[in-house]
Symmetry: C2
Amino acid sequence: SSELHPSEVPHRRFNPLTNSHVLVSPHRTKRPWKGQVDPPLIQQLPRHTKDCYLCPGNPRMNGEQNPDFEETYIFENDFPALLQPNPVTVPATTGKATAAGEEGNDDDDLFQTKPTFGSCKVLTYSPRHDLTLALMSPEEITAVIRCWRQVYEMEGKTIRDGHAVDERGSLESVGVEGLGDDVGCVNIFENRGSMMGASAPHPHGQVWSTSFVPEEPLTELRSLAAYRKTHSNRCLLCTYAQQEVAKRDRVVVLDEESGFVALVPFWATWPFEIMVLPYKRHITDLTAITEDEALGLARVLKKILTRYDNLFTTPFPYSMGIHQAPLPPLAQGQAQKTSDDHPAHFHIHFYPPLLRSSSVRKFLVGFEMMAEAQRDLTAEQAAQRLRDQSEVHYTESVK
Amino acid sequence: SSELHPSEVPHRRFNPLTNSHVLVSPHRTKRPWKGQVDPPLIQQLPRHTKDCYLCPGNPRMNGEQNPDFEETYIFENDFPALLQPNPVTVPATTGKATAAGEEGNDDDDLFQTKPTFGSCKVLTYSPRHDLTLALMSPEEITAVIRCWRQVYEMEGKTIRDGHAVDERGSLESVGVEGLGDDVGCVNIFENRGSMMGASAPHPHGQVWSTSFVPEEPLTELRSLAAYRKTHSNRCLLCTYAQQEVAKRDRVVVLDEESGFVALVPFWATWPFEIMVLPYKRHITDLTAITEDEALGLARVLKKILTRYDNLFTTPFPYSMGIHQAPLPPLAQGQAQKTSDDHPAHFHIHFYPPLLRSSSVRKFLVGFEMMAEAQRDLTAEQAAQRLRDQSEVHYTESVK
Ligand SMILES: O=P(O)(O)O[C@H]1O[C@H](CO)[C@@H](O)[C@H](O)[C@H]1O
Ligand SMILES: O=P(O)(O)O[C@H]1O[C@H](CO)[C@@H](O)[C@H](O)[C@H]1O
């Protein structure tokens, strides 16, 4: 392999998904790793609490009351960042939608505004206030995955209806070049822990649906489509995942049965960043995942989140996001017919901030914001440290 | 003007510098702004303290001792993210340097590594442990600006020497298309406050010099060069700054004498983000700033940092970064000759995290990391709130 494994030398790595670089400074870990060792955090959360707006039966900020749900529960965010389309309040696009490289006039192209619509939903993972995904069973996590699929299909339909053009909502019909303002996207993510802005410890994620394809998924889709053009229509992430499974040094958890792998990407930015994706077949979105595959994905999620928690014996904070086809296929038949050619490859990113202990995080600040992403240990070192962890959760081994 | 001022409607704005969008959700500020009001923070820091590694005369981690400096002081970071070029340890580039759109083979282009070199310096703004830029006089801040210019010239020369090719280091000779691995860049920035990863309260910034032009300045330079091509060779930022000075609604501080303006960019991401730049003439980098202009810039910096501190009566945390020509001109004469055509336009970004009080920040997390930048108040609203602040620092008006 022509691949470089420089564990001591500063270098840059290329991220082919986002088409950008990260500066890797592994020699920095040579300084005494005298990072704080914080005591294990054994949270004694109750199974249900009166003042949590996510617990079953409790009132929410808008006065509504949660039902006595038994698995998962979805509701509208009380302070949504996006609103439903409203012909009265949605203004027309102003400014010409010219990129910097196109011909344009001076004023308009520097003050471009576009109307948007969408919705924000909260997705409660469990009635239990004291659980996290790591502490739930694979079967319980599978219920969450089913809930993701359900909200993806439901919100995908709402976005298409908002555009009032069924056809334009279909990725198949517009192609990647046509992606943008009039396609829409269902964005499923989770902020876990107060360090990542989560307001409540009750296990939950969010779903923001947008009338446009946002910057990050759009950039990735463009890279995936460009790669196909120059690589005999092969999928970048299929190719990448298979090579990682063969190499093994960045793999954290492998579920051969379902074909899901969790790895620290070669181009990872966050210290213990992980990507979870299918490596045996090209899966475009949640609707294409079988029940067996969903259970395998659940097993992988439980294992990596347990390893995360065990690393610094603390509930590991992170932001998580699902990238897939922006909208679900219009009809099941159509999806099957075209899914092999569809550029999207289902994957989940985990961006956790901790670096040295439960309280010492990596700050991506001055240099990283103004110049370029930078990390202090290699992806290989991070994967090794995660592989060294037990798959039994520290709170359960203490019992 | 065709510009939209939607203070209640969610919309997207386009950032022509980074060629990307931000989602603006101004209706979110309609929720009761019952954000915490924290008590004014009157820090009683000593003028000099024994255990600060930045105070004059004190020992540093590597055992060296700081001199008794009277203005500014520059030294090597004890744990640098970048190292000087070393033919023994710097490996050859591996992987073909193909972008996703170019022809390439499967393995190599997914595992691309490039060697780098550079240096990391710490720049102490003042011998006084208890000062910040906001509390220093314009004359004292001018000394910091002179220090930035000095380190920019010094490090620019070192980077050129490292490449061992004088000519290739010159932006003039390579053009923007040629920018990249073998040009280099002097990156000047500051992390202020523990919330932004600053390890010491003693006023200081950093300078990381890189053998490559990092992602952020490279993206901006490409946008600036592309705009010139389609706008009769006019500068995007000259045009933009002049229009903002005419419109006024996003301007925070205007120094007509020196021609520097501080404004909340139309496409700002952080709640109270500010950009400082010259609007009367095209200034490519620190070496082109006159003494009078430097004093004007110092006045503007003092005023905006005072307004920042007054907003939540606390030392306002931020990350700050200077964007300019990646390297200083080879010779003064050459610079003068070509500076009008050079795409770079000197500017300073301030990215402060606070949103509602001295302890309530905006988290750019799940949606923002996985989908797109998002903000809760408009740039116009932020500029108005900053204009409403006094230019007398709250700690001095309390006296
Ligand atoms: O000031 P320090 O300790 O060198 O480091 C700080 O700034 C650097 C550059 O933005 C970051 O990489 C670090 O994560 C941050 O803690
Ligand atoms: O969970 P919340 O309170 O809606 O909000 C959290 O996630 C959002 C989406 O990533 C961010 O915009 C907020 O800054 C963050 O605090």
